[in-house]
Each structure stands twice: as structure tokens, then as C-alpha cells.
Symmetry: C2
Subunit: 213 residues, 2 copies
């Protein structure tokens, strides 16, 4: 199979390339050199070429990169050409925001179901998807070929819920709960710890804004 392992540092940069290339494409730009892109994105041209060459090289010497082609290729690498069924667990403001967002930006993530423990929310709809009681989730995941679960629930229940989901065939978790999940090898977890992010901002605010004074 010979699959070189690609570092998460590189993977983490791909969505940003994808975003810029999408914008360029929309602006009608046909080709771009690593040099031009580096000025736009404020990274080195060297890094750009290294990153792309992890996947085999999409450019042409003397010409640069075709924007449209590169955009599509990166999309494919990110798996955006495939469809993934997705459910949201926790129908608070954050859960609803993500549910809405999901159907809106339809990049292959299909918003299929929404669950909450709060009986007052049951039956209410978000983008046409009814909110269901939590005890329906196991059967739903099994029967609807759900790949991804979005977790916007309190940390007290997140670990337990994640376990249930994994046992029923979920393959990836987008975790917004303020806790580290403990899942088996092969299950993907992407954490969005908002409080961590805000604390980082707080540190930098403290440390660097002072210098102005």
C-alpha cells in the first residue's frame, strides 16, 4: 500500500489553502504561483510547495498551479467529494447553529438527525430535522448509516454518550464538550474546545497588548 504518513501540521493547513483557492476561483483567477499564493496567505512559498508535494505535486514548472484543478484536488484529499451522514447531539444554541450551518454549507455533510434530553425541545425542527429524545439515538445511528456525530452536550454526559455512539457504529466525533473523549483506536475525534481558545486569546491579550502601553 505504501501510504506515507502525512503530518497533522500539513493536514491542518489544507482547509486554509482550500478556502483561499475557492476565493481565487470565484474571483476568476486561473493560475497562481507558489510565490503569489505565499504573499496572499502570508506563509512561505517553500512551505506551500512542500505541502502540495506531500500528495504528489499539482503544479507545472514554469507555469505554476491551475487554481481550479488545485482547488478540486485539495477538496478530494479532504474527502469533500464523499458524502457523510451526520447527527447533532445536544439541541441548544450551539447545536442548532451547527445544524443550520451544516445544511447551509452543503459540502458533503448531510444533516440527518438531532437529539436532546430536554423533552421541551422534542418535535421542534431545525432546518426541517425534528429534535428527538436521546433514547432514540442508538437505533437511529444504526439504521441511517451515520458516520459523524457532533457533540454539543455538557461534559458530564459527553464521555458516556460518545461511548454509546461508538458502540453503534459512529466513526468520527466533532466534539464541542469541554472534556477529552476516550475512544478506541480508529475512531476520529476533532475537538473544538471553545474555552481553551478563549483562554489563549486572553493570554495573548494580556501579554502583548501591555507592550503598547
Amino acid at each position: 500500500m505504501e501510504e506515507r504518513e502525512i503530518s497533522q501540521a500539513v493536514i491542518g493547513r489544507l482547509p486554509r489553502y482550500f478556502r483561499y483557492l475557492g476565493d481565487l476561483k470565484e474571483a476568476g483567477v486561473e493560475r497562481i504561483s507558489s510565490q503569489e499564493l505565499s504573499e496572499l496567505m502570508k506563509v512561505t512559498a517553500s512551505q506551500i510547495r512542500q505541502d502540495f508535494n506531500n500528495f504528489g505535486g499539482f503544479g507545472q514548472q514554469g507555469y505554476g498551479y491551475n487554481v481550479d484543478f488545485l482547488h478540486k484536488e485539495i477538496g478530494n484529499i479532504l474527502g469533500l467529494n464523499k458524502e457523510h451522514n451526520l447527527i447533532v447531539i445536544g439541541a441548544g444554541n450551539l447545536g442548532q447553529a451547527l445544524g443550520n450551518y451544516m445544511n447551509f454549507k452543503n459540502r458533503g455533510f448531510i444533516f440527518k438527525g438531532m437529539f436532546d434530553v430536554n423533552p421541551e425541545l422534542w418535535g421542534k425542527e431545525v432546518r426541517g430535522i425534528p429534535i428527538q429524545p436521546m433514547d432514540k439515538v442508538e437505533a437511529f445511528v444504526k439504521e441511517n448509516d451515520i458516520d459523524i456525530a457532533v457533540l454539543t452536550i455538557p461534559k458530564t454526559s459527553a464521555v458516556e454518550v460518545a461511548e454509546v455512539l461508538v458502540n453503534n457504529g459512529i466513526k468520527a466525533i466533532w466534539n464541542f464538550a469541554h472534556v477529552d473523549l476516550n475512544v478506541p483506536e480508529g475512531i476520529q475525534v476533532e475537538n473544538v474546545h471553545l474555552s481553551d481558545s478563549l483562554m489563549k486569546l486572553s493570554y495573548n491579550l494580556e501579554r502583548y497588548s501591555q507592550e503598547q502601553k
Copy 2:
């Protein structure tokens, strides 16, 4: 002044330490060694000691670290002992989720105001804070000593709004818009690009879950 520059890699790990130490404290744990903490957090003990020693060393040879003391110290480093006034721009589901969260987890971030372009939302309250029209934001920032702005608005207006905010004295932006802001030196920006995060999950799902088959 002699302020050693501390790498963002280290800063990025501090909130996670803070979280674990808070949990330990709550569980009544008084002291912990780097070894024990490393097992809990699944990082090397070496890294833990290196990280803490960036700030001068909080432990004691032969004893380890006092949980309560370390927790407080890291909180201080992150600036959580200081208060920061904060406004939310964009009163959609995401903005409301963050506004709610802010008053709930009261770690020195004071939720002061909320703004939106949509007239239908004006006057509506989120955690007791009324949603105001966007054209009130400049005066509000100036008069209420606002440090941090949370941006949950579409990318089409984000760059422009950020500029206005900075011109009126905002020092830090927590940016949820899917665009890179361009702010002057000394203004802190922490990006939460949710779509980037989801694409990363998509990549890993694609790449690694296949291997199971």
C-alpha cells in the same frame, strides 16, 4: 524587561493543563507529580516540566506539584484573574450560544453587549443583554471600555467590521467568521474556523477509518 518569548505551542497547551488541574482540585487531589499527570493527560512528563518551567517552576523536588497552587498560577498566566469586557457581533444561533456561555462560565469575561444588522432581533435579550443595531457599536465600544469582540458574522462583512472595531479601541477579536482578518500589529486575533475543523475531521475519517476495512 527581559521577557522570554514563550512559544504558542506552549500557550496552546496551558488551557488543557488548567482544565485537568481544575478537575483534580474538584476531586480533592492535593498534589500530583509530572509522572502522574502525564499518564492522565497522555503527554510526556518531560513536556509537562518543560512547559511549567517556561514560567519559572511551580514544583518542589521530591514532592511534585501542589494542585491548587498550580491551578491558580496557570489561571493567572492565562489572565483569568483579570476582567475583560466583551461584546458579541452577530446575534444568530452561534452568537447567542457564545453570549449565553460567557455569562455562564464567568471566568473574567464580562458579556456587555450584543449587536446585529437584523432589525427583527433588535431589543430581544440574551442573558439580559439587549441586541442592538450595528450602528450603535462604535459608540458602545468607546463608552464601555470593551476589550474583546466576538465576531459571528458572515465573511463578507467581517473584515470591514473588524476594522471599525479596532479603530474604536478593541484589543482582541475572537473570530468565528470564515475569513482571515487583517488587523494592525498588537491586536490579538484568535480564529475559530469551524469549517476548517470539520474538514480536518473529514480528512482523518477518510484516511484512517478506511484502514479498518
